[in-house]
């Protein structure tokens, strides 16, 4: 614990701002029902109110409070992205570590499958599969997790292959340790730093990907508050921005608020990832 505190104290300003941003989002996501002044999907006022009390960020086309929907969006969008990333990691890291440790036909076949999956652009592949499965949150999570696990597989396999050439692995094998023991006690602890950094990067990718699909109307479906979907719903408003008074000018910001919320979180995660990579330096540029 002391060690962690010590490392944190040495963290640069960029990493601290990243931590602050993520902390803010975490609080919003966890305490959404307490913080949001209005419910997520209920229409609580006239439509298209400007920014004034009691609707500090106005209302949308159905008279729902934009501020409340932004706060609930933190919970929905980030929650689904986090679940997807976790699933992608579970799948990708397990397969990657197994492929590296087992070698042989399992390694060869899984590497070929991943090559083919990665040859098709992820967005195109996701659209193809979503056509078949239809758009539901569960389908979304599984499709993106499987597509994204290919990259985790590549990284964890490469890292594990490097570790497996070490002498202590040879010793453990001669001692007669089993496969799981080898992966759990020898490979995983040594592969932790690059995998943690990769988790951050993958989260950003998944988060942007889900937002993009929601923006296209193929991701998280209304009335669930979700940032990508909110950009889509409020996109037309931008044309009504009028810069004569600040309250009419805020219409121009309607799609930028949720889009900015997405951008800010991604920046926060990237700042921390940069710092983690810098500390475990030499793994990535």
């Amino acid at each position: 614990m002391n060690e962690i505190l010590y490392t944190l104290r040495g963290a640069p300003v960029s990493a601290w701002s990243g931590i602050a941003i993520i902390g803010l989002y975490a609080i919003l996501a966890i305490a959404a029902p307490l913080l949001a002044p209005y419910p997520e999907a209920a229409s609580v006022g006239a439509q298209y109110q400007p920014w004034a009390a009691p609707h500090y960020l106005g209302t949308d086309a159905l008279g729902r409070d934009v501020l409340s929907r932004l706060i609930y969006g933190a919970r929905n969008t980030v929650g689904i992205a986090l679940a997807t990333t976790a699933l992608a990691f579970l799948l990708g890291a397990t397969m990657g570590l197994l492929a590296a440790t087992l070698g042989g036909w399992f390694d060869a076949i899984s590497a070929r499958v991943v090559d083919v999956l990665m040859a098709i652009p992820a967005l195109i592949f996701a659209l193809l599969i979503l056509t078949i499965t239809g758009t539901s949150v569960l389908a979304l999570i599984f499709v993106i997790a499987i597509l994204d696990s290919t990259r985790v597989y590549r990284l964890s396999r490469a890292v594990a292959q490097g570790i497996l050439t070490m002498d202590y692995i040879e010793v453990a094998r001669m001692r007669g340790e089993g496969l799981w023991w080898l992966i759990r006690k020898e490979v995983l602890p040594n592969a932790a730093a690059p995998l943690i950094a990769e988790f951050g990067l993958r989260f950003c990718f998944v988060f942007l990907f889900i937002s993009a699909l929601s923006f296209l109307g193929l991701g998280i479906q209304p009335p669930t508050a979700d940032w990508g979907g909110m950009v889509r719903e409020s996109a037309k408003l931008i044309g009504f921005a009028d810069f004569s008074t600040w309250q009419t000018a805020t219409f121009g910001l309607a799609p930028l608020l949720p889009a900015g919320a997405i951008a800010l979180l991604t920046i926060g995660v990237n700042l921390i990832v940069d710092w983690v990579l810098h500390m475990s330096s030499g793994l990535k540029e």
Partner: protein, 318 residues
């Protein structure tokens, strides 16, 4: 020369194999639809005759490999079959739109590539300067901002506030080139901003790697001028990685275009793909996916082959 030819041939073969497997996956998608397509589309109440007529029309009575071969043959000659949703020939629906998409991607590339290569080289030359640091922070923005965020910022500034460019890119086949370039300026700028930072960053890294090598130091020590060291000694060796960077980003552009088209309501392939996915119009999705995936794979293949050719070391085998 023989080694380089065999390397290229091998890479070509792998590329063709990938393309082949990808066509199988895309074709297989229609088979994975739950239930029978004919009843799915026509509904449970459809009569036996109409079901049979439907199967006849979509060629569903033949075996899977036979249908795959005729689909592939059609796709190569530009005939993608008939749309499930509106029964029109797909080539008619997507022909002009595919051309529009490639136009937009090409336009963005024509702006982005020269800027990226020149400023990437400058950043490498003045490593650690203010310009260089500005470049690294812009990379952070580029990887963090969703495409539509950049697009709406541009719309708000250049279309709504200043009124210089239209926010909707309404082009039709009759639009002249000048008009077309003007109408698609904002979408092209959005795409440019998305790929620019990556390309600059990768160009910079490629050149910085080279500048650390002993032969560059030797050239400096000989008293050669700085620009001459870069142009004559570093650049030929940096060509391979830079070409690779450009082709990879072009491949990325082809996919990034989907979102940008939706934002600007641009009549392109991405827009029709998104519509087809929400209507579950599988045959159109297949055709659009095939075009996107094939372009992506071919650009990646081109990147590999060009960087093999541009690598001076492979031209003189020991």
């Amino acid at each position: 020369m023989r080694t380089i030819l065999s390397i290229i041939l091998k890479r070509l073969l792998v590329g063709c194999m990938t393309l082949f497997v990808v066509t199988i996956i895309i074709f297989g998608a229609i088979e994975m639809l739950p239930g029978d397509i004919a009843t799915e589309v026509l509904g449970q109440a459809a009569t036996e005759e109409s079901l049979n007529a439907f199967r006849e029309k979509y060629d569903l009575n033949r075996s899977l490999p036979a249908r795959y071969l005729s689909w592939l043959g059609g796709a190569i000659t530009g005939d993608f079959g008939i749309s499930l949703a509106n029964q029109r020939p797909i080539s008619e629906l997507i022909g002009q739109r595919a051309a529009n998409t490639f136009f937009l991607a090409g336009y963005a590339a024509a702006i982005a590539v020269p800027i990226a290569v020149v400023s990437g080289m400058l950043a490498a030359l003045y490593n650690g300067s203010v310009f260089d640091r500005m470049l690294s922070s812009s990379t952070l923005a580029a990887i963090s901002f969703p495409e539509f965020f950049i697009a709406y910022i541009l719309i708000l500034i250049f279309s709504v506030a200043l009124g210089w460019f239209p926010s909707l890119a309404n082009v039709d086949p009759g639009t002249g080139l000048g008009e077309r370039l003007y109408l698609t300026f904002l979408p092209a700028m959005t795409l440019t901003l998305i790929v620019l930072a990556y390309m600059m960053r990768m160009t910079r890294a490629a050149i910085l790697n080279l500048l650390a090598l002993p032969y560059i130091e030797m050239a400096h020590l000989k008293g050669m001028k700085r620009w001459r060291v870069i142009a004559v000694h570093a650049l030929p060796n940096a060509l391979a990685p830079i070409i690779n960077v450009i082709a990879l980003n072009l491949a990325y552009l082809i996919v990034g275009v989907v979102l940008v088209e939706v934002v600007f309501v641009y009549p392109g392939l991405g827009q029709i793909l998104v519509d087809a996915v929400s209507n579950r119009d599988v045959t159109v999705v297949q055709a659009a996916c095939l075009i996107f995936a094939a372009t992506y794979i071919l650009l990646n293949l081109a990147a590999d082959i060009l960087s093999i050719i541009a690598n001076p070391r492979l031209l003189h085998p020991r």
